[in-house]
Structures are given as C-alpha cells and as structure tokens.
Amino acid sequence: MGNIIETKKISKKYNGFLAVDSIDLNVPKNSVYGVLGPNGAGKTTLISMLCTILRPTSGMAIVNGYDIVKQAKEVRASIGIVFQSRALDDILTGREHLEMHASLYGVPRDIRQERLDEVLELIALGKKADEYVKTYSGGMKRRLEIGRGLIHHPKVLFLDEPTLGLDPQTRENIWDYISHLNQTSDITVLLTTHYMEEADKLCDEIAIINQGKIITSDSPRNLKKELKADTITIKVDYPDDFVEKVKELNFIKDAFLIDGEVKLMVESGENLIPAVVEFASNEGFPVKSVELEHPNLEDVFIKFTGSKISSEGK
C-alpha cells in the first residue's frame, strides 16, 4: 500500500517559537489518519504545510509523491482541504461554490455536471443548494465545504477540525459521512482534532501531538491497550495530599490530580474500588464519589503528556 504522505523532520518556526518540531509523519494510503492534540499543539501548522499554505522552516514532506515546496502546484491538484475557519462567500449559492471549485481545479467540462450532482446528493443540501450561503446553518456550511473539497476527486482530503463548533447530531452525521467516503472511494483522509471521541471513532491510526512534537502514534485500539489500565476517578477532601498518599497502595500504577479529581490507573478496576475507598476512609480522606472508566484516548493522552487535552474533550 505505501504511504501517501511522508514527512521528514519537518519544522516550522514563527519568530523564534517552534510550532512544529521536526515531525516524521507517515500516513498510509486510503487510511483515515488523525492528528490529535490540544489547541496550539501545532496541528493546523502541520496541516497547513502539507497543504502548501505554509512553507516549512526546515525538513521536507511528500504528498501523493510530490514535494510540497518544489511541486506545490501538483500537490494542490491532488488534495482537497476543509479549513478550520469558514472559507465561503456569503453571496454565492452552494451550487456556485461547487461549480467554481470544479473549474478552478480543472475538472473536465463534460463530467462537471455529473460530479456536481454526485456531490450535491452526498452533502444533501436539497433545495438550499440554490440559495445564498448566508442562509445556511453551521452544519450545512460544513457539509458544503467538505463536498467542495471532494469535487475534484482528490487523493488526500485534509480536514482541519472538521466538526469544531457543531452540535452533536451534526457531528455524528459528518463522522458517518467521512467513514462512508473512506470506505467507498480511493481517498486518504488526514484530519486534525482535539475531540478524543472523534479520533477514536473515525481514525485507523492516530498521532498524538503536543507542543509541536509527535508523542506517540498507533491505532486507537493499540494505544488504549498499551495502557493496560482502567481509571478510577475519585473525589475526596484534600485531593493534593491524597494523590501522594494513595501511591502507597501497591496496585496503583500511577496517580494524577486533574481538576481537583484524583485519577488512579489500575488493572481490573472493578475489583479494587472497595480497597481504595477503605484506604481513603482509614487515612482520613472522606470519599465523595468514585467512578470507574475503561481506558479511552483521553487517558492515553494524559499518560503521555500528564495533562488533559482540553476542557471540551471527553
């Protein structure tokens, strides 16, 4: 299969600030690849370099066999992009956006109508396709942008935070849509997100990035497996003291204090809750609540960075 995107020690520096720090990224062809990280981790900068919007300070990258600096035009012709911020013209209709994009990307005239119909059906704008974009809802705008990114049948679709600011219902629809697309057509999707759930549901492989560096990359399943741990979240009085004290218990692999809650990494957590509660009471930490969670990507993230991905992530 091979990789459709490869970067070698790619870096981007802004006025002395290293936004992307020599990243080596390998994205297998026809996969859905997620770049996961908190806001400001360098995700958008990384994706912008791959889309030829930003020039790397050092290092290089190949997209669909083309060098992003020397063959920028060829790269542009092989990719579709959905930007994090909206990139629509209020006073054009949805159909006009698609037509314009098709001709800018040189979709041959004889198949243009066919492509337009295909995409319009996919993004299900219905009658709204012929109304001005300013009358669209957030979800419709997003669907239009995704549809637009697809009309020239790109080899790689870049989605920068595709569901940011959308309601849960629309978010789910867009996820289904992306999965369906990946299964039915010859396309690789590279998406950035700071929603754990999004990465978990959609991606075949993810790279966790923080402060411009890839911390780890693997399939979501393997990453979770690596933790070999359940999380017991416990609320007690004096959590700062408790987090130190609780490490005395030999079955606790690790303990963190996050937002006033103590998170304990354990194996087969369901059997250990009574022991933890008893320990807390004996040591003089009244327990307010206890919760057990099987590992999710958030925990993976916490394990690798020692901090929560964002206040919005679950």
């Binding site: 889309c51 919007i53 930003l54 020039r55 013209d89 209020d90 054009l92 637009r148």
Partner: protein, 254 residues
Amino acid sequence: MAELEGIYTLWLRETKRFFRYRSRIITSVVTPLLWLIIFGTGLGSAVRFGNMPGGYEAFIYPGIIGQTVLFTSIFSGLSVIMDRQYGFLKEILVAPISRPSIVLGKALGISTAAVIQATILLLLSFIVGVSMTPMVFILCVGIALIMSVGLGGMGLVIAAFTDSMEGFNLIMSFIVLPMFLLSGALFPITGLPSWLQTGVYLNPLTYGVDALRYAILGESALPLGISIIAISVFAVLMVLVSSIIFSKKEQSLM
C-alpha cells in the same frame, strides 16, 4: 487552458458579486449624479469660468466618470481584504492555478464593474447637456476599461499590504481622495502653481480624466495619444506588480 478557465471563473465570481450587492450599484450611480447636479450646477452658477464651452457641469462630467472608475476599482480591489478576513482568499490561493491568473481574473472582474458604472453615467450625459455619439461612447468605454484595470490592480496591491478593513479610512484619506482631487476632475490642470502641477502630473488618474475629456468635449491639456499610453503603461505595471506581490506574499496572504 486551465489558466484561462481559472481567470474566467474568478471574473465570473466578481461579476456575480457586483450584481448581487444592489445597494452598491445604486450608490455608485447616485454619488456621481449628486456631484454633477448639485456641485456642478452650484459652483457653475457661482463662479464664471472662462474657456469652458458647455459650462462647468459639462467640464466636470468626464472628471466624475473618472471618479466613479477610481472609487469602484480601488474598493473592488480592497474586497480582497474582506475575502481574506472571511477565509475565502485561502480557497482561491490553494487552487492549482498561477498567481498572475488570480490577479488577472480579479482585475478583469473589477474592470467589468467599473465599466458598467461608467456606461450608466455615459448614458446619462443628457443631464449635463452633453451629446453622445456611438463613437464617443465606445472610445470612453475603452478608456474606462484601461483605467479600471490599472486602478483595480492598484487596489489589489494596497489590499495585499492591509490586514483589515480598519485601514480603510487611511486609504480613503491618503490615497483615494488625493488621487481624485489631483486628477483635474474638478478644475483645469493648466496654469496651476508648480507644486500642484507636479502632483497632478504624477497622478495616473489625471491621464484617464484628460483622455475622457478629450473624447467627450473635444478638448484636453495633453494629446490623447500620450494619455492613452500613460494609462496603458499604468495598467500593465499595476497588474505586473500585483502579480509579483501575490506570488511573493502568497504565504502571508493565506
């Protein structure tokens, strides 16, 4: 071929935008009419000008057409700032077409808007008592077209260096108004104090207004040929400069 199609696509978008913002079309016709009817008649009645056949209104008529072309072209060029703020410029700049084609498509779209407005004013020539023949009409449209390509290109250059619409007032006070006032739209450009004369001759709009005045009233300060050459050189120069700037600054525009 792909480049031509790209130019056409961008031209089409500009033109659609122009026709959809109806209020803009109305203002751009009403403003010059106010100048012609109120300012022209008022000043024309108060002051007696020698050597102005047809009166002051007729004298400023070509100047006001020049003003309309100036305002429309520069402000359409500045719409790039809005495109940038709304992210739409990114969508255009990441397309696989060359930067000069983007600039040319945009500049032609701007010209279309400016020429349409000039045409409306030319059709209203009876208001100032100027007779319009098909030949004069065609010549004026041609001049307006060349002027608008240059001024639109200039608008694009300014837009490339302006981050937000906050800079709009600065551009208005330091570029657009001086250009209008120094163009000889409102007064004859002969026999001026030398400092003013210099400013007038450095202003590309002067040559456009002078050419229009020759076409419409049959009199001008400079030979028609010189004026046409001046505005053509300006047009080519501005398209070149904005193409270079868009290619060089590409990264920071997105």
